[in-house]
Amino acid sequence: MVLVLALGDLHIPHRAADLPPKFKSMLVPGKIQHIICTGNLCIKEVQDYLKTLCPDLHITRGEYDEDTRYPETKTLTIGQFKLGLCHGHQVIPWGDLDSLAMLQRQLDVDILVTGHTHQFTAYKHEGGVVINPGSATGAYSSITYDVNPSFVLMDIDGLRVVVYVYELIDGEVKVDKIDFKKTPATTHSAH
């Protein structure tokens, strides 16, 4: 049972001051094993805060990040799953499923986590699953001002992943769950 926190697009301090307090109260150290962050933190203090939640932190570079040393994309293996991480502003059209699927095949991962649109989405296609955790602070995006704060927690257990989606709607935290299994046959490269 491995808990992986996926979040991003916080835009602290430019567009938001901090994470919503209801989210902050839930995020305590000791529970989460890995954190993957799509980017646009934007400052080092946010990275330090995330480090206190969990020492294993992976970040990719968003276009507003002040630290230029984050990579453009990142892949890591957790349990039986290969995860890919990318901010998403590089993939045009932004948020387009087919283009993201192409990126996923390039990185050869089962789960691709991207951001930039500040909207939570979770899609499945033959190559795997694409997840967008949205913006954890609810900061406005290049596309829209109407953003609900959201982030994603994945529970990787063998060949099964349970994705918990945390969204702040009208001041209340709503939690949804998505299940999917990886069949051993789906680890195939591009046809």
């Binding site: 529970k31 979770a122 899609y123 499945k124 927690l153 257990d157 935290v173 939690v175 949804d176 069949t183």
Partner: protein, 469 residues
């Protein structure tokens, strides 16, 4: 170290002792002889002491079952003397081989006695207890079986053993399943039982958005609700971490427990399960540092059982016996009960009373002169059943007596603690607060048989019986 006084040794030794002189400060002995040498050192004559010693020896003669035992002891003492005088170990070699032969004969006799008792259809527990309190010989599965019988895990009628054992082991496995699974495993098992169709649709290769299912506020990993499975799981993770840390420190000198071999790790994992399960089933006490030490001898004895089936089920058996062993003293671990009549302070005051009834001089010296209260040394002795004061072999021998004592484990424990105090009386009397505390918190090596004999012979503290209802 012989303090320049002649030891009064009975005639039995005859020529061996004739013309003997005590010489000071010859650091003595090696191996088994050393133990007896130590004994002499501690019990050095301050007048009272030597009297007491020869007294107990005489008592020894009367109470001992085997004839040879006192003879053996005398001989060993003589050898110790020889060593002290720097005489060559020629005698010792002779003596010790003679001794070991006698000891082996004794052990064999005891072993066959015990085996006979165990092989009866209806086991006479009293008789077994009596033999066991003189020490259970190593080897085979004697100790494991006898402990299980006397603790009440195994029923006295042999025919019911199979049934009891398999039932208990099944119960344990079920408990483990219920309480030790992670929440994701639990959820997975629930779903597999559920077998809902929508899941299989989502898993078909149709592309598209994944279906979201709303869940309650309790059901997610970050939930802070008390009733949440996840929250409880994370609370127990903290306890589990503490248990892991303690297990790393249990008997680090023994390969059985320590080290990175799969052997050591497997044992630590089994012990971890036992302790974790215990903490979940006893939320009032949870896990207290030290419980790992109490579990260690039990688990060790059961896993070194020569019977394959028993050894592989050591985890289940040691869980049940751990519970049985702690059944009357578990309140010692609960801080809230410290000052109550079942708490540790009350037990410590009983120890004090027992000491007072047996040796008022020492009691007075400890309580008033050097102000060493029982809390300072006795807390660990009593809550951990002396596991931190001696090495594993000695602990096993002491526990033989504790478990099989007709007075009950706690009573016998108090007696042994009192005996521990008496056996270092001379050093205590000459020490101040710091020295005494240091001595009692790092109890010196001592002959265990002697210690247990002293404990056996103590006058009980009758005031306790009058007051208790």
């Amino acid at each position: 170290m012989l303090k320049g006084k002649k030891l009064k040794l009975p005639d039995r030794l005859g020529s061996l002792v004739a013309g003997f002189e005590d010489k000071d400060e010859d650091s003595g002995g090696s191996g088994s002889v050393c133990e007896l040498g130590e004994e002499l050192e501690i019990l050095q004559p301050t007048g009272f002491r030597s009297d007491r010693e020869s007294e107990t020896d005489d008592d020894h003669d009367h109470n001992e079952v085997q004839e040879e035992e006192p003879m053996v002891k005398r001989k060993m003492k003589a050898d110790a003397e020889l060593e002290h005088n720097g005489r060559q170990p020629r005698h010792e070699k002779d003596g010790s081989s003679h001794i070991s032969v006698i000891k082996t004969i004794e052990a064999d006799e005891k072993r066959s006695d015990i085996e006979y008792e165990i092989s009866q259809k209806e086991i006479n527990l009293e008789k077994l207890q009596r033999i066991a309190s003189t020490g259970i010989p190593e080897g085979g599965n004697l100790r494991a079986t006898v402990w299980k019988l006397i603790l009440g895990y195994l029923p006295p009628s042999r025919d019911l053993w199979e049934k009891e054992l398999s039932e208990n082991r099944k119960k344990y496995a079920k408990l483990k399943e219920e309480l030790l699974l992670t929440p994701s495993e639990l959820a997975r098992m629930k779903e597999e039982a559920f077998q809902s169709n929508e899941h299989s649709n989502a898993h078909s290769d149709t592309a598209g958005p994944l279906i979201r299912h709303e869940i309650s506020h309790e059901d997610h990993p970050l939930s802070l609700g008390k009733a949440s499975v996840w929250h409880q799981f994370f609370e127990h993770t903290e306890i589990a971490e503490q248990i892991d840390r303690d297990l790393q420190r249990t008997h680090p000198e023994m390969k059985f427990f320590s080290g990175e071999s799969s052997f050591g790790r497997k044992h630590r994992e089994s012990m971890r399960n036992v302790l974790l399960l215990f903490s979940k089933l006893n939320p009032a006490i949870r896990y207290v540092q030290g419980m790992n030490e109490v579990l260690a001898p039990l688990y060790y004895v059961f896993s070194t059982d020569t019977d394959e089936k028993n050894a592989s089920n050591a985890e289940a058996d040691s869980f049940s016996c751990f519970v049985l062993l702690l059944s009357d003293s578990v309140d010692h671990f609960c801080q809230q009960l410290d000052n109550s009549s079942v708490g540790i302070l009350s037990t410590l005051s009983r120890l004090s009373d027992l000491l007072k009834a047996n040796d008022e001089e020492l009691w007075r010296h400890l309580e008033f002169t050097s102000k060493v209260k029982p809390q300072y040394y006795g807390f660990r002795w009593i809550t951990l059943l002396l596991t931190q004061e001696f090495n594993l072999q000695s602990i096993l021998r002491i526990w033989d007596s504790l478990i099989s004592s007709p007075f009950g484990i706690q009573e016998m424990l108090l007696r042994v603690c009192c005996a521990m105090l008496l056996c270092v009386k001379s050093r205590l009397l000459s020490g101040d607060f710091a020295a005494n505390l240091k001595l009692l918190q790092h109890y010196p090596e001592i002959n265990i048989e002697h210690l247990l004999q002293v404990a056996q012979d103590l006058t009980p503290d009758t005031s306790y019986y009058r007051l208790s209802s």
